[in-house]
């Protein structure tokens, strides 16, 4: 899922300075799981804005805002949205941009999107996949060096690796050591000597899929 965090409230107040009547969209998908854009967070944001003198015209927790069909339906069926000066969106960048396509009034992002994460428990997420379109997991013991190596190195660790940890953060495992250990268990560490070609970035510039 897409892991998000809430922007500073001061920033939200700043962008809504000229607007008194606000509508809030939440997300019943990832942002609910993240506890950054579920019903509870939408109501909390509404209460905070009201205490700053804003009027909350209404809110909807969309299921899910990254689906343009759901967004279109919401605008068709919920006429009260038009009474607002702007909509605050508690969803990831994909959700924000799908709302942007159909909104008749200004919109403001409330969240910053961090990464595609796996969840250990609420509040504990791991950045394991960069959705790069060049999956190398088959060859790397299903541990992604593109995402989990700070330098995205494809042919093994850098010289900063030590005691199995990464040079940018000594609490972070060097993914190449994890890959090495997994290969060691299977008795195929020599696979590390196989050369992996430079990444093909063309896939990152596919802007739509048919």
């Amino acid at each position: 899922m897409i892991v998000t965090i809430e922007k500073d409230f001061a920033e939200i107040l700043k962008v809504t300075k000229e607007e008194d009547n606000l509508f809030i969209f939440g997300c019943a998908g990832c942002a609910t799981l993240c506890q950054t854009g579920g019903e509870k967070q939408v109501k909390e944001l509404g209460a905070k804005l009201e205490s700053e003198g804003k009027e909350i015209i209404g809110y909807s927790v969309l299921d899910v805002p990254c689906d343009e069909r759901i967004v279109q339906k919401e605008f068709r069926n919920n006429s009260s949205i038009r009474n607002a000066d702007s909509i605050l969106i508690m969803a990831c960048g994909a959700g924000i941009q799908s709302v942007q396509k159909f909104s008749p009034i200004p919109i403001h992002p409330v969240l910053d999107s961090l990464f595609l994460g796996t969840i250990e428990r609420i509040g504990k997420f791991y950045n394991y996949c960069s959705i790069c379109g060049n999956c190398v997991l088959e060859d790397t013991q299903n541990l992604c060096p593109i995402t989990r190596c700070a330098k995205g190195l494809l042919n093994g660790p850098c010289g900063g690796m030590n005691e199995g940890k990464c040079e940018v953060n000594s609490e972070l495992d060097c993914v190449w050591v994890l890959i090495y250990e997994a290969m060691e268990k299977k008795g195929n560490v020599n696979n590390l000597k196989l050369f992996r070609e430079p990444r093909n970035w063309v896939q990152s510039f596919v802007f739509k899929s048919e």
Partner: protein
Amino acid sequence: MKFCDILKRKEFVVTCEFCPPKGTDLTEMLQKTELVRPYVDAINVTDNQRARLYPSSLAVSRILKERGFEVICHLTCRDRNRLSLQSDLLGVHILGIENILFLSGDHPLLGDHPESKPVYDLDVSQLLRTASHLKEGKTLSGKKLQNKISLCTGAVVNPEAEPQELQILMMEKKIVLGAEFFQTQPVFDVDKYRKFYDRVKGFGARVLPSVLVIKSAKFAKNMSKVPGIKIPEKYIKRLERAQNPLKEGLKIADEIILALKEFSGGIHLMAPGIEENIPQLKI
């Protein structure tokens, strides 16, 4: 002359590292290089060392080359994509620089521009392969170049990093991809280095272990924070107790050099900011 030819001709080879100044006045650096001239076979010029901004290693390498030094120009993957890396390699050839050392480069988060975008479009293995293409007169994308370029290419290995087995695998891989020599991260544990050396000496690429001169306890503690550098507590204690820490630091370096000389085919000296003391070492 190519560094590889120097390595072939000489049994014991000494190199020394210079980081360009924080600015464009090379006067002090050039004075220091003159002091070390009689003692070294080649000078390494670092490339935005520790992810901090300095003048271009290519430009400074050329200046040293003009003054008759053999130079080993550092080139990191951190700040350049594959176009820029190849462009610089062609530039290195035009400038008459014959030796190049490839490094990943410390992550920008550790340097003085932590907000910058890290590149790492190629890793060192891929860069070695790319350099081999250029040596054959073609680009990474297979386009033909006017001419072939000639370069002696080196890489780095960290003998003290664990797991060491992984370092050795990486070294073998880099040799297959075209690494002709290696320089290491600073060695303080000579026994451990010797065990490493015994494993890799048959690989067919010369390895120069680095000796770092630690000028004070404070400096040693700071250097211990640099990725890949481990300074044993016993040396830090000696510096703390010493009346003249620099003298003690040179003594420690001499002890390490003496022990390395027994078996190693050379050394790479690092005396950041205090290179003028290199002539005092028992090289």
